[in-house]
């Protein structure tokens, strides 16, 4: 009995001092001098632009990775062609790779002298602009929808899909009316993970964006820029905005969580 209490309080103490007290502390620091200084710090034109840019990038990323994530999962589970092991490994890579490396790869590819560097000469600006920031964010969030949909697809089997096909449904009809309704919760959970990760992306975007205030500065870049410029109220207030988004994500994750594991 004693051992049980010791373990419980040890674990709760660890979580408190690693997570809860520090996160609580940032709320305290933000509103130390009242609500309005913090409010004004996150409603400056630069901050509002950063928030808008973050939302835009996250929206494009979620759209791309949901469509292709479901397609990839479908192919991994239902497909019979070779190379699925390799594809599996590629999908997991962003989980293990440093975001700075992801950013640098894009710089080498789309920068001057890169294989696709010529695009800039034709007026297609990718690096230090929105396209590269989106590409970087898509890269780091590729695994989430796939990883959530694969086990669900495996579990539902193919019997209903085959029944629909026998009854004359086309491939797309089968997918839309049979497969999609069955996997929707898995997709939803994957979307939440993708969204949270896309909003919080820092390292890769930091390398490819050029970090120009009011132009290529996302919310996370805004936090670090304000901190480095000694505008602590601005940094803390923007961090609180991001933390509130994270809390919301955690609550939604709890609702959509599949029975087994977290999946990330």
């Amino acid at each position: 009995m004693l051992a049980r209490y010791a373990l419980r309080f040890g674990v709760l103490g660890y979580l408190a001092f690693l997570l809860l007290v520090p996160v609580g502390m940032i709320f305290y620091r933000t509103f130390e001098h009242g609500f309005w200084p913090a409010w004004h710090a996150v409603t400056t034109p630069a901050a509002r632009h950063a928030l808008w840019l973050t939302i835009l990038i996250a929206a494009i990323t979620v759209a791309c990775n949901t469509v292709f994530g479901v397609a990839l999962a479908h192919w991994l589970v239902r497909g019979r062609s070779r190379g699925r092991g390799l594809v599996n490994a590629i999908i997991d890579l962003p989980l293990a790779l440093s975001p700075v490396v992801v950013g640098l790869s894009l710089v080498f590819l789309y920068g001057t002298g890169g294989w696709f560097g010529g695009l800039a000469d034709h007026g297609i600006k990718i690096l230090f602009a929105l396209p590269a920031m989106v590409l970087a964010t898509i890269f780091v969030t590729i695994p989430f929808v796939v990883r959530e949909v694969v086990p669900v697809l495996r579990e539902i089997g193919t019997e209903q899909e085959q029944a629909a096909e026998t009854l004359g449904a086309s491939g797309f009809q089968v997918f839309r009316r049979v497969t999609l309704p069955a996997i929707r919760w898995g997709v939803a959970y994957g979307v939440v993970l993708t969204l949270a990760r896309a909003i919080g992306e820092f390292g890769a975007v930091s390398v490819v964006s050029g970090r120009i205030e009011g132009q290529t500065q996302t919310m996370t870049l805004f936090v670090s820029a304000q901190y480095e410029n000694f505008d602590y109220v601005g940094a803390y207030a923007a961090a609180v905005v991001l933390a509130l988004i994270a809390f919301a994500a955690v609550v939604v994750m709890k609702v959509f969580r599949p029975k087994e594991g977290a999946g990330y």
Partner: protein, 276 residues
């Protein structure tokens, strides 16, 4: 038998879906190639542009070696702590019951959802120069371990939790009725069953720690030879217009990531075999 039938779908003998499938396959392969493979190929190509010699020169610069060593050692420490604490947290969340357990369970996901730069800032407010506790670990190696523990918290917990939930209590009860002490029951019955899950969680945490950047930039101070980790070193090289050194170190990190993924694949295989 039933699972065998489900695993091998009957071929569909119509032309239209087949063409659609080929198109879908091409699109999916193209997407992965464009987003992931071509950029990584460009990186590798750049690192070897001036030959293997200059690659080795870049990797074996003292500052690069020091950064890599620090990264690996800190990640190993963090992985080891996570193995113990992560398993303990999962145990408490599954086997213990107390008021507010559901909230604690949700809180585990917070480091995943919280942007890494915010994680670094948050730790800095409590353990930095203005610490209300009077503990200032900013710009030390301890701070690096703290930040890494923060961002890697969920991995072992979420790997172990489902396995522990499904574990059959009968074996433990049998051992207890035969007079085994709680610690012996854990060591000889629970632990062997959890080991594959612990290892794959630890490997993921290690991989994450090796590449971590956002939570470290503010709190580590980035002092060369002292608190500069590999990803921050790469970032510094990019800033100071030294793409060769940045590319070489990036390829080293890429290789480490690939190696860890292979290892995780092996653990997963083991777990599936174990489950049978």
């Amino acid at each position: 038998m039933a699972s065998n039938a489900a695993a091998a779908p009957a071929p569909v003998g119509r032309a239209a879906p087949l063409a659609g499938r080929a198109l879908g396959r091409g699109l999916v392969a193209g997407y992965l190639t464009l987003i992931v493979l071509i950029p990584l190929a460009a990186l590798t190509w750049r690192s070897l542009e001036h030959g293997k010699g200059s690659f080795w020169d870049a990797v074996s610069q003292p500052e690069a070696v020091a950064a890599l060593k620090l990264t690996v050692v800190a990640s190993l420490v963090v992985a080891a702590i996570n193995a113990v604490v992560g398993t303990a947290i999962a145990w408490v969340l599954v086997r213990d019951s107390f008021v507010g357990k559901g909230v604690v369970n949700s809180v585990i996901d917070l480091p995943f959802a919280l942007p890494t730069i915010v994680a670094g800032l948050v730790l800095l407010t409590l353990y930095g120069p203005d610490s209300p506790l009077g503990i200032n670990i900013a710009f030390t190696r301890t701070a690096i371990v703290f930040a890494l523990l923060f961002v890697t918290l969920p991995f072992v917990v979420r790997a172990v939790q489902p396995v522990l939930l499904e574990l059959d209590r009968e074996m433990e009860e049998a051992a207890e009725s035969l007079g085994a002490r709680p610690l012996a029951v854990f060591r000889r019955i629970v632990f062997p069953n959890l080991l594959p899950a612990i290892l794959s969680g630890v490997a993921l945490a290690f991989a994450r720690a090796i590449g971590e950047f956002g939570s470290l930039v503010l709190i580590s101070g980035n002092l060369p030879y002292k608190t500069e980790v590999s990803s921050v070193y790469i970032f510094g090289r990019i800033q100071s217009q030294d793409p060769g050194a940045a590319a070489a170190m990036s390829v080293v990190l890429l290789l480490i990531s690939l190696a860890i993924l292979l290892l995780i694949g092996a653990f997963r295989h083991w777990r599936v075999k174990h489950a049978r």
